[in-house]
Symmetry: C2
């Protein structure tokens, strides 16, 4: 699916939902009364609040840049096959408008475009916090809907980009410090993680948890825990908590980030009950800071922003995880389980209970689909679906429409066929990280994660490509599960 077709869904829905009454016929119609009201309000307002997230490196900036660019530049139907408004020549114009939230960074579209279109194109710089862009999309209403054929309509599209790491913090809201510590112990039992945590373990080994709170000791141990998280990240792990430890922003150096998990063994040896820690002891301080982190750092994001989103795109870089190996892939799987937990709309779900978000459409998209040959893209979508399988069922049951797909925000390759020993082999042409032209068959994408045996013998080596030179910039490799492959080339 192109970046556009996700929007297509938005527009299409806004435009035609009165005819396609699938939402209205949903079996949970009574339970979703409130949601329908909201949807109706949004239809009237023609306002879509699209949130884009994904773990670090998943391609959020490239995705939004491409989406904005294709909309602003959309003038030929051929480039936007999924976008009925364009196909039917109903698009009048798209322009960036004044963003609603003055305290979010302005999405750096112009800077990203400059990097992508310079003589030696580079990928845009990744964002470190929230940013936003508002587009006004003016189009003619389709016949079915409008009373007057010539009537124009405007869709306001707010796109908000935020770090996926923040979503990983959501489940913390349902935990106390003791539960979180236990959870982290599970993580730390992974041999590679355990190894990376050695300096941290050494620092906390001699910490007297019953002693009067020692701010400096806790700070130093938390810095080692942060370093452990950073080392995990460079070793291919993505389930990294607490999320703000890696991107602290203005909280850098603040005690609210000076906590870390402690082991059952330590609690036992020192005779500590985390429900009744000694007043002002190190143990109580850790509990207090964990709580403060939840209420003052995690909650505000959801309370202030998350509940405003209608549609959510989660970008997932499956290919890089495969490249990094089994542990990385398994970790990504775990991180996705956590992420998807945020979108479970059961009544017991914390997000729903606390913040009543109104997201009714959730798209999981495997990014960098242009880094493999077209015939492998069905597999990529299947691979992503296999990762999402367990949690997805519940989301669907609760009336949130979900979809998994593969996207290539900015197509960095051309696909073709190569003759070898009389056989046609699908290949990609692109530029490697150094900018040199390469032609290669990147390999097959598995439909699900291979078992441990496979990894002892083999590994994946999907290429890292530079952004394309101008002649094929801002094109979309586009593929949707089950449909045929299409490529759209511009210029």
């Amino acid at each position: 699916m192109s970046a556009l077709s996700i929007l297509f869904f938005q527009l299409h829905k806004v435009d035609t939902v009165f005819m396609q009454t699938s939402l209205l016929q949903h079996p949970n119609i009574l339970q979703t009364k409130q949601k329908l009201k909201l949807t109706a309000a949004r239809l009237v307002n023609n306002h879509v609040n699209l949130a884009v997230t994904g773990l670090s490196g998943s391609g959020k900036t490239a995705f939004i840049t491409s989406l904005v660019n294709q909309l602003i530049e959309a003038n030929e139907a051929a480039h936007l096959p999924f976008f009925s408004v364009v196909r039917e020549s109903r698009l009048i114009g798209v322009k960036r408008d004044i963003q609603p939230n003055l305290s979010f960074s302005r999405f750096a579209y112009e800077e990203a475009m400059a990097k992508l279109t310079q003589t030696s194109p580079e990928w845009p710089a990744s964002t470190k916090g929230i940013s936003q862009v508002r587009l006004k999309i003016k189009y003619k209403k389709s016949k079915g809907l409008s009373k007057y054929l010539t009537e124009d309509a405007t869709l306001t599209l707010d796109i908000t980009d935020y770090p996926g790491e923040w979503l990983l913090d959501l489940p913390l809201l349902d935990m106390d410090y003791a539960q979180w510590s236990k959870h982290c112990q599970g993580e730390l039992s992974d041999p590679i993680r355990h190894d990376l945590a050695t300096p941290f373990f050494n620092a906390v080994a001699n910490l007297d948890l019953n002693a009067r709170g020692d701010e400096l000791a806790l700070q130093k141990a938390s810095e080692l825990y942060t370093q452990y998280l950073i080392d995990c990240q460079s070793n291919g792990y993505q389930l990294l908590q607490p999320g703000r430890f890696i991107l602290p922003g203005e909280l850098s150096g603040a005690p609210v980030l000076h906590f870390f998990p402690i082991t059952d063994l330590q609690l036992e040896q020192q005779g500590i009950d985390l429900n009744k820690p000694l007043k002002d002891s190190n143990a109580e301080l850790l509990c207090r800071r964990f709580k403060h982190y939840k209420t003052e750092v995690v909650q505000p994001f959801y309370k202030d922003h998350f509940k405003g989103f209608d549609r959510q795109v989660v970008l997932v870089d499956c290919l890089s995880a495969l490249n990094r190996g089994f542990h990385s892939y398994q970790d990504l799987q775990k991180a996705l389980d956590w992420l998807m937990g945020s979108f479970q709309y059961g009544s017991s779900n914390i997000l729903n209970r606390l913040f009543q978000p109104k997201i009714d459409k959730l798209v999981f998209a495997a990014s960098k689909a242009d880094h493999i040959t077209p015939e492998q893209q069905t597999n990529l979508v299947k691979l992503l679906e296999s990762m999402l399988h367990s949690v997805r069922k519940q989301i669907q049951f609760d009336g949130v429409s979900t979809e998994s797909t593969a996207v290539s925000a900015i197509r960095a390759s051309k696909s073709g066929l190569c003759q070898q020993n009389g056989e046609s082999i699908p290949v990609l042409q692109g530029r490697n990280e150094q900018g040199a032209a390469i032609t290669l068959f990147p390999g097959e994408v598995p439909q699900s994660c291979p078992g441990p045996e496979f990894w002892k013998q083999q590994k994946f080596e999907f290429p890292k490509l530079s952004p394309p030179p101008d002649e094929y910039t801002t094109c979309s490799a586009s593929y949707q599960n089950g449909s045929s492959t299409r490529f759209f080339t511009r210029g």
Copy 2:
């Protein structure tokens, strides 16, 4: 005055206020009933909330580091002459305690001490936002107060360090965008400032203020305005507004910082009434952002934190301003006028009206008093007082005790006498910025700012000194207006 004696004032007051009833006998006693209640509560709690501020480069970090160090290391009465608790051997111990605000940075005392005591000592890194340190000071009560001679008391001292630039933003709360623009025009009429603002002026010259809001154009112009402020700073100006433009923190790139002043001429030429700008025009956007900056950036600091402070130290680096020349000195004077406006406690004062702060003691301290010879320090205090003269009267009238003094947080020089042509000349010994030993007479400090004629002929060249090698680290050059000079050397 040493850093300590400011605290001495705190302790002394807590300890002896019942005997020294000056506060209770104040003529405005009816009006200050509320304040007295607060003071009483603080006496009972033995809790002092000391805020330390000053414009960039005034020496806040060194000051707090020295204060904390001297308290923690205080074990010989000789080093702490102003500190009655120590002089009378009543101090039992001081230690750093758990800081109350988890979201403020922990004041980096250990890092600062490490820098000051390394083989080639360096000044500690300056802080970019708020930081905090809490000390618990345990001492024996003096005979006059305690029922039992052996009774111990504990004073909790919270020290909060924040950028003086944030205080410069306070007067904005009383202005609308039109008034602020007019104020900035005044600033920009200074020839040097005007020159530095050329790129900014060029960018706004062609901006159609009635045209529909162009976010990117406003962003670009605001970036040039920020650059102008940065250039002003490196040219010795300190009245730089809005304060967050230079230290944006997490607001970097956010539209709330994308505004700038416009000139009357432009308003006139384009026929704009800022009370009634066209909806969604550039002019309206500028008004809206200025308002948002006031309510979402400036106000929260005062609302959340400022009103908690009891005592305020404002550090002023008069010597560097003299070094930089007349324009810099005049600008510092203006900046101080603005700063002091924050502390005017008249009923019409915005700070008082909105936030009801309880600051009852305000100390203005000329920093780096060790960079001049001892006999010049009376002049330094007089110079500072001449800067503060106009606004200070009003503060005193409103029952806030103010004091001006000179401090040397970390004494970087030794003073002595040098024989030249049979005359004794006072000199300093220290190390220059490159770490080489120097002996010099830094010059005379004027008692007030010399007139423009003086500056055409002469200039000031007070030295820049490196922190001292270990043998005289963390000593205080100490001087108080009117009293005799004393130096205290440790180790």
